[in-house]
Amino acid sequence: MEVSRHWRLNKQRYSLVGEVCPHCEHKLFPPRDICPDCGEDARDLFEFSGKGSVYSFTTVSQAPAGFEESVPYTVAIVQLDEGPLVTAQLTDLGDKPVEIGTPVEMVTRKLRSDGDQGMLIYGYKFRPAFAA
């Protein structure tokens, strides 16, 4: 049972909360407490805007356990507007093909379920940004 692990990850998972370095303003996601840029302590929480663009992507047709029901699906590396790269599933693609540079925004979606009787796991994915 990994209930406690899910709970500790909630903040980071539901709302893209990372850290900001108080010394050089570098934004960290996922949070790792040490600034990769200047090597100092970086523990101040920072909530990302959720806006970004597709940096790279691939389509998954052989899914790992727990994800079988959603094949085929697209996984992307998304560059957040604040800088960090995040790996996440893309969703709500509709009929439009994904391209490098496609503007995307974070949404909280169902990631998987631990079987029919286990927990439902929610977390961030990215969808094509709504046209302004």
Partner: protein, 354 residues
């Protein structure tokens, strides 16, 4: 002292933030008719919104709540209640509302609970939120009505049972986009539509239970709230009634004396379906998206079992600016990908793969 039955808090309350959510997939009613060999071959006009594989009442409520928070421009830590009304909570036991509260940053100093009263579970939560804020116990309370509506394959409900809903953050009237003048609830024990525990699909008395259920409760609630406030249909710029289909709200509006013009902006059922607990509430978001300051709105929900909640609202000067801080309801309706019945069956878990 207000007239018997009318609900009016000590402190004036209003809608400080509102937000809609409608998923992107659409199933045309003609597609349901094609599969189930409807004798007319076309079914009722229109289409319904269908949630994607990774969506449920939790994820949809989170997005609507985020939109409400964007418009409210308040700190989520000052929310004291997150209440979600639905007929399709993903868990039988474990609240939808705790996940929503966590995702928007309202934890830990908050109440959280799921509400159940068929299609009026969300407006029931609004009534409670008025009391919570209006008593002074809380400055802000979030009430949500959201559903991924169930209809048995081949049942008449399947043409319209849609997905979507709305979130309303209630707070002090001074900060509001629309003030809530007064509200009212009309309730009787009327078994027109129900779903037993552990059953997947609801049961209804006839094709659509009308007279003793929908029409009686909405009419009684609307007439009472209008007569008690000395108002008549001409005093309202907009009226929104629960929308199980196109004809019911049209007919009840007409019998109460409202024109087609007064109900058109809040009528979404032919484009997104009947979103159950979300239906009347998402209609209100569409009206707030277009209303001018100082306009009066009548909102009447209906929930089987049965009851209606009625509200009289007046928009404020703060509405035109703050509504632009989140996506409007029309943007969600226009974001549209049509699907066929097979894709719908897969998305709604109507296929058994193991």
């Amino acid at each position: 002292m207000t007239e018997a039955g009318l609900l009016k808090p000590i402190r004036d309350v209003g809608i400080v933030g509102y937000g809609a959510y409608i998923p992107r997939y659409r199933l045309p009613a003609s597609e349901v008719a094609r599969i189930w060999k409807d004798p007319a071959g076309v079914g009722p006009p229109g289409e319904k919104a269908v949630a994607g594989l990774d969506e449920d009442v939790i994820t949809m409520s989170i997005e609507a709540a985020r939109n409400a928070m964007s418009r409210a421009t308040i700190d989520a830590s000052s929310i004291r209640a997150v209440w979600v009304g639905s007929e399709s909570h993903p868990y039988a036991v474990k609240p939808t509302s705790t996940v929503v509260a966590e995702a928007i940053g309202a934890v830990p100093n908050t109440q959280a609970a799921d509400w159940e009263f068929a299609c009026k579970a969300g407006t029931e939560a609004m009534q409670a939120a008025i009391g919570f804020v209006g008593s002074g116990m809380a400055d802000y309370a979030l009430s949500i009505g959201m559903d991924t509506a169930q209809g048995r394959p081949g049942d008449a409900l399947e043409y319209t049972a849609g997905a979507g809903g709305a979130a309303f953050l209630l707070g002090p009237v001074e900060e509001s986009l629309a003030s809530i003048e007064v509200s009212y609830s009309f309730t009787t024990d009327t078994p027109d539509f129900f779903r037993r525990a552990n059953e997947k699909y609801p049961v209804h008395g006839e094709r659509f239970t009308g007279e003793p259920a929908y029409f009686k409760h909405i009419s009684m609630a609307a007439e009472k709230i209008m007569s008690s406030t000395n108002s008549s249909p001409e005093d309202f710029s907009y009226a929104i009634f629960h929308q199980p289909n196109v004809k019911f709200p049209q007919r009840v509006a007409k019998s109460l004396g409202f024109t087609a013009d007064q109900i058109k902006d809040g009528m979404l059922v032919s484009r997104i379906g009947n979103t159950y607990a979300g239906s009347a509430m998402v209609g209100l978001t569409a009206v707030l998206d277009v209303a001018d300051p100082g306009e009066r709105i009548l909102l009447v929900s209906y929930g089987s079992g049965a009851g209606s909640d009625a509200f009289i609202l007046t928009t404020t000067d703060q509405l035109p600016q703050r509504r632009n801080l989140a996506l409007d309801t029309e943007s969600y309706i226009k974001r549209r990908t049509e699907i066929d019945y097979a894709t719908y069956a897969r998305y709604r878990g109507k296929l058994v793969t193991k």
